[in-house]
């Protein structure tokens, strides 16, 4: 009797689902961050209120746990697949021009992902950890003043540059990742493949431009 040990496509499905959830999360994250574009006083009050509201909500808590699991799952399964692929690849060519036939970002999702992982560690430490586990000063409404942390962080040029580089990596990662996930899920009809490709481009441009604009806006304000 046949033993079903196939894991390749199942692993890809895990990467696709976690990746798409992270794509969805980025939309919510960007929408929340748009409040930073408000006039300073209003932005401080509203952004701090919003951050406070999020941390108290049970539904948000569940989603954040799904988010942590997705991040870890996405990275771990990417690592598993990459290791397996390296084994499958075997010996290298002496003269290798295979990169001629495919897009640069599609071949380097691992490098882009590693940049994003390093970025996330810094980002979690400076915002997530600072907000959750340290005693921050409070604003007029009595909410922890996360807005001040944002302003202080982005006042440093090197920090802005770090974020901008990471967002460029994010853009290239999303450009391939979003469409690749649709393939893994089995979208094969040419009409919808084209639609998803256009949607993927639009999504990537909006998300990347949106996130890139925030540190620049706050730094040069």
């Amino acid at each position: 009797m046949l033993t079903m040990k196939s894991t390749t496509l199942k692993n890809k499905l895990i990467i696709a689902f976690t990746g798409l959830f992270l794509c969805f999360f980025l939309v919510i994250h960007l929408l929340g961050n748009l409040q930073l574009f408000l006039p300073e006083d209003q932005a401080r009050e509203q952004f701090n209120w919003y951050s406070n509201a999020l941390s108290g909500n049970i539904l948000i808590k569940i989603i954040s746990w799904v988010l942590y699991l997705s991040l870890i799952g996405h990275a771990v399964y990417a690592l598993i697949i990459t290791t397996k692929n390296n084994t499958a690849n075997g010996k290298n060519y002496h003269y290798d021009k295979r990169n001629f036939s495919s897009a640069w970002n599609s071949r380097n999702m691992g490098i882009l992902g590693t940049i994003l992982l390093i970025f996330l560690i810094i980002h979690f430490k400076d915002f997530w950890y600072t907000y959750k586990f340290t005693n921050l000063p409070v604003d007029a409404a009595g909410h922890k003043d996360l807005y001040e942390v944002v302003v202080q962080s982005y006042s440093q040029l090197w920090y802005v540059i770090l974020y901008e580089i990471s967002f460029i990596a994010l853009g290239f990662h999303l450009l391939h990742g979003f469409f690749s996930a649709s393939r893994t899920l089995g979208l094969y009809h040419p009409k919808y493949v084209k639609a998803i490709k256009i949607f993927g481009w639009g999504y990537t441009l909006i998300i990347t431009a949106g996130f890139m604009a925030i540190p620049l806006y706050i730094h040069f304000k």
Partner: protein
């Protein structure tokens, strides 16, 4: 024209190979790439040296036997072309050409440029056929099927199994090959019956043979001599996901 060749020489699967330099003169632009290698082999015979072994059969671009990595690209610099259909007019006098076998853990080198593609046969044997009894040849029009479906199935069936997709894939994935076979059969009324079982067993066999996983770089489609669409990989994923959900 005169060419400087760097060719992979390896006595057998267990021996360690190396790149060996050769010079060849008198190559004309009308020669096919394989004829150029024939010419080199003739000179090796006269020198009583072991000839360079490579796979070939029809030399018409339809059998899928030939397949060499030429200057770092599967089947050489042209898109959608087999090695035998590549001609020396694609090169110029004084060029250095790197010639290596297709590489993947699942494709061990047998000798020089010859590789063992039994892994592909094992995938086909695991389910790449129609097992349902179809009886004697029926009246052709008794099974309604649209022209577009027939064409799409035939486009996928055009795969010659040369292995360029695996050779050019950074993950050595056989997804395009397996996707083409799955798509070819899943589109036809006779093939639909066993579609779920087929996709599960063939993907399982693909894994067991040690191929990597597809990361949708689409390099395979660019190098495929038959121009098999990467959408057949998406179709395979679709059939696989459907089988995972609905299998009993």
């Amino acid at each position: 024209m005169k060419l400087y060749l760097k060719i992979w020489r390896q006595l057998n699967t267990s021996s360690k190979g190396e790149m060996v330099d050769y010079e060849i003169d008198g190559v004309t632009e009308h020669m096919s790439f394989l004829e150029m290698l024939d010419l080199l082999n003739e000179s090796l015979v006269q020198l009583h040296e072991r000839v360079i072994e490579f796979d070939h059969d029809c030399r018409e671009g339809i059998c899928g036997q030939c397949g060499i990595m030429i200057n770092g690209r599967a089947h050489g610099p042209l898109k959608h072309t087999t090695t035998c259909q590549l001609h020396m007019r694609s090169f110029k006098d004084g060029d250095t050409i790197y010639i290596e076998p297709f590489r993947a853990t699942a494709f061990p080198v047998l000798r020089d440029l010859k590789i063992d593609r039994t892994a592909f046969d094992a995938i086909i044997a695991s389910g790449g056929y129609i097992g349902a009894s179809t009886g004697q040849a029926p009246e052709a029009n008794s099974i309604p099927i649209s022209y577009e479906t027939v064409e799409a199935s035939f486009d996928a069936a055009a795969c010659i199994g040369c292995g360029a997709c695996v050779a050019t894939c950074k993950n050595s994935s056989a997804a395009l090959f397996v996707g083409a076979k799955i798509t070819h059969l899943a589109l036809l009324p006779q093939g639909k019956i066993e579609a779920s079982k087929r996709v599960l067993t063939m993907v399982n066999q693909m894994d067991m043979e040690g191929f990597g996983s597809c990361t949708n770089t689409e390099a395979c489609e660019a190098e495929c001599p038959q121009g098999i669409s990467v959408l057949s990989i998406a179709k395979m994923n679709y059939e696989y996901n459907k089988a995972l959900i609905f299998k009993k």
